[in-house]
């Protein structure tokens, strides 16, 4: 009876095919640079600017590049971005304040701080002054839905509007529907500028200030250290500072 294995050449071809098959299987279990991680974001310029390059997207892109990873940004509404990350639909979130992993059990924080996030109140009224969350009580107020720290601190506020986007938020202010809106310091200024709200006022002091961090889904636990290391290296070699200077407007 003839068999394919009767000939040594045929057997060698089968062996090579088997090795290739096994190699392919092994490689497929490793994340590859050409399969970018989907990182969702809720932030706006200058922190995130997918068209022109913002501070955080450029920093993250560089860090991922250093870590040998690809990256793909996905803008989302605030609450949805966390739900998608927690459900593993997206691979990461750029960027959030610390402590969210206690609320969402499936997410991991990359320890290296990206930037400080300043919660401030914006108004067009020249007479309004605020000092802390409690001082907002007597004003009509609008916030972004899904910003955890803001929602928690304004939970008891009676005249509160929640909107999905920064444009909606600042349009409310522009049209005089609310006295105050709460947003991030740099992003708020950028939006006001874009909407040509010339009489915008940023009320001081800041309502809160929190560091922003990259979050990853827990399935990427092995990547946390690599990305963190890349971020550290960017700060130590000046790459981060260079991006910061290129993207962030100078402080007053």
């Amino acid at each position: 009876m003839n068999s394919n294995f009767d000939k040594p050449g045929t057997a060698l071809i089968w062996l090579c095919m088997l090795v290739l098959l096994l190699n392919g299987l092994l490689l497929s279990t490793q994340p590859k640079a050409d399969t970018p991680l989907v990182i969702n974001t809720i932030l706006t310029p200058p922190l995130i600017d997918l068209e022109n390059g913002g501070l955080l997207d450029r920093t993250a892109a560089e860090a991922f590049k250093r870590a040998g990873l690809g990256i793909d940004f996905q803008p989302l509404p605030a609450q949805r971005s966390l739900l998608n990350l927690d459900a593993g639909i997206d691979d990461g979130n750029l960027a959030r304040i610390p402590g969210l992993e206690t609320i969402f059990p499936n997410i991991l924080m990359v320890p290296e701080k990206l930037v400080d996030f300043r919660f401030v109140a914006f108004t067009r009224n020249p007479n309004i002054e605020v000092n802390g969350w409690d001082s907002l009580q007597s004003y009509n107020l609008a916030i972004i839905h899904g910003w955890q720290i803001v929602e928690i601190n304004t939970a008891a506020h009676k005249n509160l509007l929640k909107v999905q986007t920064a444009e909606q938020l600042f349009n409310l202010l522009l049209q005089g529907r609310v006295d105050l809106v709460i947003y991030e310091y740099s992003m708020g200024q950028a939006i006001a500028k874009a909407l040509q709200i010339n009489d915008i006022r940023v009320l001081q002091p800041d309502l809160a200030q929190r560091p922003l961090h990259l979050y990853l889904h827990k399935s990427h636990q092995s990547l946390v250290a690599r990305i963190n290391e890349a971020l550290e290296s960017m700060k130590s070699d000046g790459a981060y500072q260079k991006i910061f200077r290129a993207t962030m407007p100078l402080e007053d």
Binding site: V38, Q74, P77, Q79, R80, L83, N84, A87, I89, H145, G146, K162, Q164
Partner: protein, 793 residues
């Protein structure tokens, strides 16, 4: 015919009932079907409205869920439950309710669920499900109202229909059936003329089914009447048959009351037929057990109650109304109809007085001795067997006595059998009078009687035995002016559960024999077999001693003949003993005890002396005798001296004497045997080795034993013609003898074929019944002496 209340309207009632029931069932079924269809329609409508929500509300809800805007979601859910029938709207994520509008617990509601999916990055994300529920409470209310209306209207219709059918059925069927009913009720079977029959049933002119039924009834009437007449005729025949048969026949009904009794039954019971009929059979037919005289349960009642034939017993006696008793055999059988029900019983019986008397007599004769009327041996052993079993079961002891009459033979011999028979009868009566009621006396044969003393201790048994012995001893039997005394020797055996009948009878016989041996007219209690044998041996020693004292030993001689001429060469001396009553005892009876008690040397010496004496007396014939020596004599150191002295005392030469020693004795006492043989050989005596081959000893011993003859053991010789092994043994022994110069003597030569076989082998001498029987020693030369005396005269 008008509808009357006296009629039983069961058919009409059933018809109405059936119609109403079927109508109701149909109504309920159609109502249920209609309600079910309405329910399906309503449900379809509700489900459609639920599905419409999918198109109207779901898209906006998906967006609200996408941005996780709780306020927006809740507002949309609240909007949904304001629509018709919708009572509950829920958003479920991973099967947990996240948002809800409406109450959680619902009754009679139907729910549908829609997936909440969002198209994201070229894929579908499942964000959860929308569940909306609609209430069916209103639908149910409508359905119940509708079903009630249908049921009520259809029910009324069913009752109206039933009423109509009832009236119409009566008009068409019932009234005609009543006419038929009346006619059939009036119908009576009789064997008279046609005029006595009921008139023809007229129902209607039309030949419808009822009219056909009427005609069929009419035909049936005619057929039934004819059958009835035939039955009457059969009944007459049966009654004549019953009246003419020889058996009594009684027929009863189911309750055991007599329906008929034939003349034979009436005669045997002494009840007239008129009086007996209608009476319980137990009153007329009373039977008792022949043995117990107890009233037997009535066999008819048994047959009626159990439906089986009672066991057929043979010892029944019928007691008539006047108390007359008749031995009968009866049989009873239940009468069973086609449905298997018992409807009565038939009792058949007949007079068996003659055959039962005959059978009783035969039975009596089989178990009794015809002379004395006592139980015979067969019946006695049967009773004994039962007693042994009973002894085992109840742990009782019984006693068996074996009685042998002493001196009975004298009466029989001197006065004839008639006197003997009379003596036995009288003794039987005497013995019977001394026994308890429970004891059994039997004649075992001749003058032997057996007594079974039931439940009896040994002491009591001894007491009774002694009483029997003494009554016989005191008794005097007179016959033709002669008077005889008789005695009874009694053996007593205790009966326990062990031992067979044969053993018991043997022990009793042995014990009786001991009583006789012990001097007659006494009682001997059986100890055990070994003890009895020992006791027996002691008895024999006494007898041997007695025989010595009274010169009751006698010498016999058997010729040993030459193989070719069959003429006597010499004779072997044999010993016989006579008892006081003249009975001759063979040596097998007394030699073993004599050996065990060391008397053999004395016997040997007595034999030797007598033989020498005889040889001296018959010196002119130069007789040659072979004399047996026992092992004890071989071991007796004084024996050689005794023999030497004999030769000195009598004119006998050593060549006349041959000593026979058995093979086993010689080997057991080899040294002494050699000394004796060598000594006596110097006196020219010869020696024979007796029973050679029986001990299966080595031929090697022959070399050291200088014997002259080998006596081949009779057990080989006797069967040498038929048995080739025996033949070979005889041949082998003879051949060895030839080689060693020893002549062989074949013992037990009993017929011509053995003589011929021995001759062919060339055996020198033969001994046995075939060539010469033992005879008293003194007879050997008696003929010669007689001739000599005559010629001298």
């Amino acid at each position: 015919m008008p509808l009357t209340t006296s009629r039983n309207l069961r058919v009409s009632r059933r018809l109405i009932g059936g119609v109403v029931l079927v109508s109701l069932l149909a109504t309920v079924a159609t109502t249920l079907l209609q309600t079910w269809r309405d329910y399906r329609t309503s449900l379809g409508q509700v489900q459609t409205s639920l599905h419409q929500l999918r198109n109207s509300s779901l898209p906006s809800l998906v967006n609200a869920v996408w941005v996780a805007d709780s306020d927006q979601i809740q507002a949309q859910l609240n909007g949904m439950i304001k629509q018709d029938n919708i009572v509950l709207a829920q958003i479920l994520i991973n099967d947990e309710v996240y948002w809800q509008a409406g109450p959680s617990k619902l009754k009679h509601a139907v729910s549908v669920e829609f997936p909440i999916e969002y198209n994201y990055r070229n894929g579908i994300i499942d964000m959860g499900r929308l569940r909306v529920s609609a209430s069916l409470a209103g639908t149910y209310t409508q359905l119940i109202e509708k079903a009630s209306a249908i049921l009520i209207s259809n029910g009324i219709m069913a009752f109206l229909l039933a009423g109509f059918i009832l009236i119409y059925f009566h008009f068409l069927v019932s009234r005609h059936l009543y006419v038929l009913l009346d006619k059939v009720q009036q119908f009576r079977l009789s064997s008279g003329s046609d005029e006595s029959r009921p008139g023809i049933i007229r129902v209607d002119d039309e030949l419808d089914e009822i009219a056909q039924l009427a005609s069929a009834f009419e035909l049936m009437q005619v057929e039934a009447t004819r059958s009835y007449e035939r039955l009457l005729s059969e009944k007459d025949k049966s009654q004549v048959t019953l009246a003419s048969i020889g058996d009594g026949v009684i027929v009863t009904d189911r309750s055991g009351l007599i329906e008929s009794i034939n003349p034979v039954a009436a005669s045997l019971t002494e009840w007239s037929e008129e009086k007996a009929i209608g009476k319980p059979v137990a009153e007329i037919f009373q039977i008792i057990d022949e043995v117990t005289r107890q009233l037997d349960p009535n066999p008819v009642s048994l047959a009626l109650n159990r439906g089986v034939k009672p066991r057929h017993d043979q010892n029944k006696i019928l007691v008539s109304s006047t108390g007359t008793e008749t031995a009968i055999e009866e049989s009873v059988a239940p009468i069973i109809d086609n449905d298997g029900e018992i409807i009565g019983a038939i009792l058949v019986f007949h007079d068996v007085t003659f055959s039962r008397n005959l059978s009783r007599e035969l039975s009596w004769q089989a178990n009794h001795d015809s002379l004395t009327g006592l139980t015979n041996r067969r019946a006695f052993e049967h009773q004994l067997d039962e007693a042994v079993v009973e002894a085992g079961m109840r742990k009782q002891q019984h006693i068996l006595l074996f009685i042998d009459l002493d001196q009975f033979k004298i009466v029989n011999d001197t006065c004839g059998h008639q006197a003997g028979d009379e003596l036995l009868k009288q003794i039987s009566a005497l013995l019977q009078n001394r026994l308890r009621r429970s004891d059994l006396l039997a004649r075992l044969g001749g003058d032997e009687f057996g007594v079974l003393l039931r439940d009896c201790a040994t002491d009591k048994g001894m007491e009774i035995a002694e009483s029997l012995r003494s009554i016989v001893q005191e008794y005097r039997f007179g016959w033709e002016s002669k008077s005889f005394r008789v005695g009874a020797s009694i053996g007593l055996v205790e009966i326990s559960e062990k031992g067979s009948i044969r053993d018991l009878m043997r022990f009793a016989d042995l014990a009786c024999y001991q009583a006789k041996d012990g001097g007659r007219n006494r009682i001997h209690v059986y100890q055990n077999e070994e003890g009895e044998v020992r006791e027996s041996e002691m008895l024999w020693i006494n007898r041997i001693t007695e025989a010595f004292e009274n010169n009751r030993f006698e010498l016999y001689a058997q010729p040993i003949v030459a193989g070719d001429t069959l003429e006597a060469h010499h004779h072997e001396v044999l010993l016989r003993m006579h008892l006081a009553d003249g009975t001759q005892v063979p040596p097998g009876m007394f030699i073993p005890p004599a050996e065990r008690y060391g008397i053999m040397p004395s016997i040997d010496r007595w034999v030797l002396r007598k033989s020498f004496q005889w040889m001296e007396e018959h010196a002119e014939f130069k007789p040659r005798l072979a004399i047996n020596l026992s092992g004890a004599s071989l071991g007796d150191s004084l024996f050689p001296e005794f023999v030497t002295q004999l030769f000195d005392d009598y004119k006998v030469s050593g060549s006349q004497v041959c000593f026979e020693i058995t093979e086993t004795t010689a080997i057991a006492n080899l040294t002494q045997a050699l000394v004796l043989i060598n000594l006596l050989k110097t006196l020219d005596c010869s020696f024979a080795l007796d029973d050679f081959g029986s001990g299966l000893s080595s031929f090697g011993y022959l070399k050291s034993l200088p014997v002259d003859y080998l006596k081949i053991d009779g057990s080989f010789v006797r069967d040498m013609v038929e048995d080739p092994v025996d033949h070979a043994m005889v041949q082998a022994i003879h051949q060895v003898g030839l080689v060693m110069g020893i002549e062989s003597i074949a013992e037990y030569v009993e017929d011509d074929s053995v003589i011929e076989a021995c001759r062919k082998l060339g055996i020198s001498f033969l001994q046995g019944y075939g060539v010469g029987k033992p005879a008293p020693l003194n007879h050997i030369f008696a003929d010669h002496q007689a001739v000599k005396v005559a010629s001298a005269k």
